[in-house]
C-alpha cells in the first residue's frame, strides 16, 4: 500500500448522513439547509467512490484497520456502486421534494422536525447496507433500515398509518430474525461471516440448506414477494408522500440486494427447482399486483400495488440465471426506483391539491396540475415498459435472457404485466381529464414539489437512452461473471 492520502469515500457515504441526522436532530430549525447540504454531500461522495471504483476496480476497506475475520469490512464493487447511485439519485430528489412537502404553510412543524433526522438515518443505513461485506453487518443495517422506515411511516399519524406501521414493524422484525438464525447456522458451520470467505468455504450440506431456507424466507418477507406482500400496500400507501416514495424506491430493494448477493456468492449451487419457484412467485406477483392495482379506488393504494407487481419482475431473473437476466433485473430495479419516486411524488401533489386521492374524483387535475400529470404519465411510460424508457430496456434484457435460457414463457409474463400497468395508467390519466360531479376545495401546490416530480420522471425516461453506462458499471468486480452459462 502506498501512503498517498486516499480519501475513503465508502466511509464518507456512511458517516455523512449519520452526522447529518444528528445535526438535523439537534437544530430542527435549520433542518432544511442541513438536510439539503448533507444530501448534496452524499451525492458528491458517491460520485467520488464511483470514480475510485471505475479507476481502481473494486474497493475494500477495513474499518479501524482490523481486517476480515474480526473487524468490519466495507466492500464496493459495481453492484454496490449501482445501488448507492440509485439511492443517491432518488434520495436527492426526495430531499428536495420534502422541503416543499413538510414545510408548506399549513404543515405541522413537528412532522418536519422528525422527518429529517429519520430520513438521514435511513439513508445512512441504506448506504452501509450496500457497502457491507459480511452477513452479520448486513443484519444490523437491515434492522436499522427497518426501524427508521417504520418510524417514517408512523409519521403520517392517523389509524391507517399507525396500523400499517405496526404491521410493517412486526413483519420486518420477523424477517430479520429468520435471517439472523440463518447467519447463526452459517457461522457455526463455516466459522466466518465474511461473504468472500463464506463463498470459498460453503459446500452443500443440510446445515447450509437450512440456513439458506431461513435467510431466503426472511428476505422474501422483507422484499414483499407475492404471497408475502400483504403488509406492503397499507404501509406504503398510508405514509407521507416522500416516505412512500423512498419506501417503494429504496427500502424494499435493499433486502432484494442482500438476497441477490447471497444467492450469487454464497449459494451458487442452489438448485434449479428453487429458482423456478422464485420465478413463479415473481410471475404471480406481476399478475396479482397488476390486477389489484387496477381495482383500487385510491391513487396511492394503486401505486403501492404496482410496486408489488414491479418487484415480481426482479425475481424473473432467478430461473433464467444468466448474466443478461441479472442485468435486466437490476436495470428494472434502477428504473423502477426512479419512476416510482416520480409517481408517488405526483400522487402526493394530487393528494395535497384536492385533499383526497380518490381516482374517480380526480376532477380535471390535468388542467390544474399539468406538470404533475405529465410526471405521472412519463413515469407510467417507464413502468409500462414502453420505449425509450428505462423500464423498456429492463424488459428487453429480461426477454432476451428468457429466450437465451430457452424459457420463452417468461416473456408472456412481461407482456401481460405491461398491459396491466398500461390499463391502470390510462385509467388514472383518463379520470384526470374528466370533470367530477362534486366540486372540491383546492390548495396551491408548491412549485418545487411539481418540478421535482417532473425531473424524476424525465430521469426515468432518460435511463432508457443512457443505458450502456450503468450497465458497464455492473461489470466491475461483478459477481455475475462467475456463472456465464447463458
Amino acid at each position: 500500500m502506498s501512503y498517498v492520502p486516499d480519501i475513503h469515500w465508502g466511509v464518507m457515504v456512511i458517516v455523512l448522513p449519520l452526522a447529518g441526522a444528528v445535526c438535523c436532530f439537534l437544530w430542527p430549525r435549520r433542518a432544511v439547509p442541513l438536510g439539503l447540504v448533507t444530501a448534496l454531500g452524499i451525492v458528491a461522495c458517491v460520485a467520488g467512490l464511483g470514480w475510485q471504483v471505475v479507476e481502481q476496480g473494486a474497493q475494500r476497506y477495513a474499518v479501524g484497520g482490523w481486517g476480515a475475520p474480526l473487524g468490519i469490512d466495507l466492500y464496493a464493487d459495481g453492484l454496490s456502486l449501482l445501488m448507492l447511485m440509485v439511492a443517491a439519485v432518488a434520495g436527492l430528489g426526495i430531499s428536495v421534494y420534502s422541503c416543499g412537502y413538510f414545510h408548506r404553510p399549513d404543515a405541522k412543524r413537528d412532522k418536519a422536525k422528525h422527518f429529517w433526522p429519520l430520513w438521514m438515518f435511513l439513508w445512512a443505513a441504506l448506504n452501509a447496507l450496500f457497502l457491507s461485506a459480511d452477513i452479520f453487518n448486513l443484519y444490523v443495517t437491515l434492522e436499522l433500515l427497518g426501524l427508521a422506515a417504520v418510524a417514517l411511516v408512523a409519521l403520517a399519524g392517523g389509524a391507517d398509518a399507525l396500523t400499517g406501521a405496526m404491521r410493517y414493524l412486526l413483519v420486518s422484525l420477523l424477517g430479520s430474525l429468520f435471517y439472523l438464525l440463518g447467519v447463526a447456522l452459517l457461522y457455526h458451520g463455516f466459522g466466518s461471516v465474511d461473504i468472500t470467505l463464506l463463498a470459498e468455504r460453503v459446500e452443500p450440506s443440510p446445515v447450509v440448506w437450512a440456513a439458506m431456507g431461513l435467510m431466503v424466507t426472511g428476505l422474501l418477507l422483507k422484499t414483499a414477494l407475492f404471497p408475502l406482500h400483504f403488509w406492503l400496500p397499507s404501509a406504503h400507501a398510508s405514509a407521507p408522500a416522500p416516505v412512500s416514495a423512498l419506501l417503494s424506491a429504496l427500502v424494499v430493494k435493499a433486502s432484494f440486494y442482500i438476497l441477490l448477493r447471497l444467492w450469487l456468492e454464497i449459494f451458487p449451487f442452489a438448485n434449479a427447482a428453487l429458482a423456478q419457484l422464485l420465478g413463479l412467485l415473481g410471475a404471480a406477483a406481476v399478475l396479482w399486483g397488476g390486477f389489484q392495482a387496477l381495482f383500487q379506488a385510491r391513487l396511492k393504494m394503486l401505486i403501492a400495488y404496482s410496486t408489488v407487481a414491479q418487484l415480481g419482475y426482479l425475481f424473473l431473473a432467478f430461473p433464467l440465471a444468466n448474466v443478461i437476466g441479472w442485468t435486466g433485473a437490476l436495470y428494472m430495479l434502477l428504473s423502477h426506483a426512479v419512476a416510482k419516486t416520480a409517481m408517488f411524488m405526483a400522487a402526493g401533489n394530487i393528494l395535497y391539491f384536492g385533499g383526497h386521492d380518490r381516482i374517480v374524483d380526480l376532477d380535471r387535475v390535468v388542467q390544474r396540475l399539468p406538470l404533475t400529470i405529465t410526471a405521472f404519465a412519463l413515469a407510467g411510460v417507464s413502468i409500462m415498459g414502453l420505449p425509450p424508457s428505462g423500464g423498456f430496456i429492463a424488459k428487453w434484457l429480461l426477454l432476451e435472457a428468457a429466450i437465451r435460457a430457452a424459457q420463452w414463457w417468461w416473456g408472456g409474463i412481461l407482456i401481460l404485466g405491461g398491459l396491466l400497468s398500461a390499463a391502470w395508467v390510462f385509467k388514472v390519466v383518463g379520470y384526470a381529464f374528466t370533470q367530477s360531479e362534486v366540486p372540491h376545495e383546492t390548495r396551491t401546490v408548491p412549485a418545487s414539489m411539481e418540478w421535482t416530480a417532473l425531473v424524476m420522471a424525465v430521469v426515468a425516461i432518460l435511463l432508457g437512452l443512457f443505458a450502456p453506462w450503468p450497465l458497464a458499471l455492473l461489470e466491475i468486480g461483478s459477481p455475475f461473471g462467475r456463472e456465464n452459462a447463458g
Binding site: G146, L147, T163, M166, L170, L173, A184, Y187, H188, R298
Partner: protein, 102 residues
C-alpha cells in the same frame, strides 16, 4: 448429545414457539412478546453453538453478535411498544384492525 447441542435445540424450540404465538395471538403486546421470545431463541442458538469443542474456550465472536442483537432487540421493542400505545390511542384497541376505507 452434548449440552451445547441441547441448548441450541432449545433455542430452535423457542424460535418456533415464538413464531406460533406471533401468528395466533391478536393482541399487539402478545405479538411483541412473541417476537422477543423468538429473538431469545436465536440468541440461545448463537451462544450455544459458540462452544465448538467441549472444555475448550468458547468462540467469542457469536457472543459479540448476541450483544449487538440484544441492543437491536431492545430498540425494536421500545419502538414497537410506543407504536402499540399510539395505535391503541387512535383506534381504541391494541390490535391490527383491517384498514378502514378512506
Amino acid at each position: 448429545m452434548s449440552s451445547a447441542f441441547l441448548y441450541a435445540l432449545v433455542g430452535v424450540g423457542l424460535f418456533t414457539l415464538g413464531l406460533y404465538a406471533l401468528i395466533v395471538h391478536t393482541h399487539l403486546l402478545r405479538k411483541i412478546l412473541a417476537i422477543n421470545v423468538m429473538a431469545s431463541g436465536v440468541f440461545l442458538v448463537l451462544v450455544a453453538l459458540a462452544a465448538r469443542t467441549q472444555g475448550a474456550t468458547p468462540d467469542p465472536v457469536p457472543h459479540a453478535m448476541v450483544i449487538t442483537g440484544i441492543v437491536v432487540a431492545v430498540s425494536a421493542t421500545a419502538l414497537a411498544l410506543a407504536l402499540m400505545l399510539r395505535v391503541r390511542a387512535e383506534t381504541g384497541r391494541a390490535e391490527l384492525a383491517e384498514e378502514s376505507q378512506e
